[in-house]
């Protein structure tokens, strides 16, 4: 198992290097002059050339890539053409918002998905099962950006129950920076007003983002649980007179969760991607918002930085998923 993990880490690192190469090649064979864009439309040729020199865009492409990779190992992602700051600093600023949104959405998807999958499996072919299944199929079919707009229309515009736009009421100042996650920071500093506001602003974007993954987790839980309930040890557990509730939670659900955890790991990638769309709708100041600006400015360093960071996060999450197997499945531990 240790060897397996090591192999996974090495392969993921190769993949990371591969992706830098892929995005780098792509971004340098296309038309469009980033130096001119950064210098502005009114800039004279000399100014454009000086920007070009400043960012190393005048060197041959292989050399540019080498310089980029050497810097990358030093944690330097280059300078952003749009903010004129180091990309790594930009990412540090924008990442916590995306992380908080994605974590809350994952939590909603996992808890909601497992609960509804359990309900569906226990009441197989009853009304509640049909309703849950139709909703989960709807979840994977609905465009996340449209769902966000519809929730805004209903809960903000029509009912006025929830706020939208940003992470916090504009009259409040953000909680003291500890982790950059507003909900957590508000809790840590016992700042109840910002806590309430940041939770209220979180509800719509998090539900929007979680919806499709919730459906996937729910379907997986249902299918896996129905399989597990056929097993001999379940019959044994029932046969020796255990309460049905105990059989379900301790014997069936625990074993049924293994494939579900795999799915959750894979879904996390979808959630990260979806977060980019959700951020656009809810003016959420995270990586997606940053990426949109980078795209408009042809800011290659910014685009590569965002892509690499999300890839890295996705990789770490999937490694964690592998580790979770160790905890819940003694058979894998024994190998």
């Amino acid at each position: 198992m240790f060897n397996h993990l090591l192999r996974r880490i090495v392969l993921s690192l190769i993949a990371l290097v591969g992706i830098t190469l892929l995005v780098f090649i792509l971004s340098h064979v296309v038309p469009g002059d980033p130096a001119r864009l950064a210098a502005g439309p009114q800039a004279r040729q000399e100014q454009v050339e000086s920007v070009r020199k400043e960012y190393g865009l005048d060197k041959p492409i292989p050399q540019q890539y080498l310089i980029y990779m050497v810097n990358l190992f030093k944690g330097d992602l280059g300078k952003s053409l749009q903010s004129r700051r180091p990309v790594s600093e930009d990412l540090v600023d924008y990442f916590p918002a995306t992380l908080e949104l994605t974590l809350v959405a994952t939590l909603i998807a996992v808890i909601g998905g497992i609960a509804s999958g359990l309900l569906s499996a226990v009441h197989k072919n009853k009304l509640i099962d049909h309703v849950t299944r139709v909703i989960s199929l709807g979840g994977v079919s609905i465009p996340v950006f449209w769902l966000g707009l519809m929730l805004v229309l209903i809960f903000y515009r029509a009912l006025g129950w929830l706020p939208f736009g940003g992470r916090l009421d504009p009259s409040l100042s953000p909680p003291a920076h500890i982790t950059g996650l507003y909900i957590l920071d508000s809790l840590l500093t016992a700042n109840w007003r910002t806590l309430g506001s940041s939770i209220a602003y979180m509800v719509l974007p998090a539900i929007t983002l979680a919806f499709s993954s919730l459906g996937v987790v729910s379907r997986m839980t249902r299918a896996s649980l129905l399989d597990t309930l056929q097993e001999d040890y379940i019959r044994t557990a029932r046969g020796k007179g255990l309460q049905e509730r105990f059989v379900l939670m301790r014997h069936a659900l625990k074993n049924a969760l293994i494939p579900v955890i795999t799915i959750i790991g894979l879904q996390f990638g979808g959630l990260l991607g979806g977060a980019f769309l959700v951020e656009v709708i809810f003016s959420w100041p995270g990586l997606g918002t940053y990426a949109m600006k980078a795209i408009m400015f042809l800011d290659y360093n910014g685009i590569i930085g965002v892509t690499l960071l999300t890839g890295l996060v996705f990789m770490v999450v999937n490694l964690l998923v592998d580790l979770t197997y160790l905890v819940i499945d003694p058979r894998i531990r024994a190998q």
């Binding site: 392969l11 993921s12 190769i14 993949a15 990371l16 591969g18 992706i19 892929l22 995005v23 792509l26 971004s27 296309v30 038309p31 469009g32 199929l137 709807g138 994977v140 079919s141 609905i142 465009p143 996340v144 950006f145 449209w146 707009l149 519809m150 805004v152 229309l153 515009r157 990638g269 979808g270 990260l272 991607g273 979806g274 980019f276 769309l277 656009v280 709708i281 990426a291 949109m292 980078a294 795209i295 290659y300 685009i303 590569i304 965002v306 892509t307 999300t310 890839g311 996705f314 990789m315």
Partner: protein, 295 residues
């Protein structure tokens, strides 16, 4: 001897063909039938949209801009006064054609890579699979976004970007299928009678990968429509005035709070179409499972 001279009075047992089994399956599953109906209607609209649109889907008509749904304009009009229903109908073929292009390109390329990797094995397999790892190591939307952003915003580039992140799934699927049939006796038999590797791959291995590929392709129609629409939504795919659903929602977003129908209607079209393909794909997957279980 061409024919038996006497009628033996035998009738053939009812024959369970693929078609008849499929038909019985659909009859038992109302959701699958719903999916099939939605897909059929969508395809018909895509084919005949030119003749059934009530208004010109592209030409602006500022006299009636942002008109609410009415008998003249069933789904209302957008910021340029264009009939939203007409644009949705015209957009059907944009979405379906895009999905078809993405799936055929990524399926062709992925199948090729998967066949080579699975059949040859060894270091070639290793290299090719590490290559797919690179693509799968990133959230699909983000990688597609990065590729499409670097190529520049257009529908064509968005299709290239989506196909670029999609083919590894097919490569994996086909490779897995090849590995599972490569050592079967009939493949060995083909080798031993002197069939060339190319012939073995094309005639004996490839046909056995087609079933799962077809199921996957149906499920992927919905996914690729969503991904392409997402790219258009963030401004990287189809550009105005092309009647593409994602970009219609994107433009309509600005009018959400005062003119709700502008972004709502095209998004609903995406939902309905994707739902149709997912219902059908799900049913096909169950159907394939049933066949596997029966064998």
């Amino acid at each position: 001897m061409s024919e038996l001279p006497v009628d033996l009075g035998l009738t053939l047992a009812p024959k369970y063909t693929f078609g008849s089994t499929l038909l019985r399956f659909l009859r038992r599953s109302p959701l699958a039938t719903a999916g099939l109906i939605i897909v059929a209607i969508t395809v018909l609209i895509a084919l005949f949209s030119k003749w059934i649109v009530p208004y010109n889907p592209i030409a602006p008509n500022l006299d009636v801009k942002l008109a609410a749904p009415s008998l003249q304009h069933l789904l209302g009009t957008d910021d340029m006064g264009r009939d939203i229903l007409s644009r949705i109908l015209a957009g059907t073929s944009v979405s379906l054609t895009s999905a078809m292009i993405i799936i055929s390109v990524s399926m062709a390329f992925g199948t090729l890579v998967g066949l080579i990797a699975g059949y040859l094995g060894g270091w070639i397999d290793d290299v090719l699979m590490r290559l797919t790892d690179i693509f799968l190591a990133f959230p699909a939307l983000i990688l597609a976004m990065a590729i499409s952003a670097t190529l520049g915003p257009s529908l064509q580039n968005a299709l290239i970007a989506v196909a670029a992140v999609w083919w590894p799934w097919y490569a994996r699927l086909v490779r897995g299928q090849v590995l599972s049939v490569r050592n079967m006796e009939y493949v060995e038999a083909a080798h031993s009678v002197g069939a060339r590797p190319m012939r073995v791959v094309l005639r004996h291995i490839l046909p056995n990968t087609l079933g799962p590929l077809l199921v996957q392709a149906t499920l992927d129609v919905g996914n690729t429509i969503l991904l392409t629409a997402s790219l258009s939504f963030i401004g990287l795919g189809a550009q105005p005035p092309t009647p593409e659903w994602g970009s219609m929602v994107s433009v309509g977003r600005l009018y959400l709070l005062s003119y709700w129908w502008v972004p709502t209607m095209p998004g609903f079209a995406i939902l309905l179409t994707v739902l149709g393909f997912n219902l059908l794909g799900d049913a096909m997957r169950d159907f394939a499972d049933v066949r596997e279980r029966a064998l």
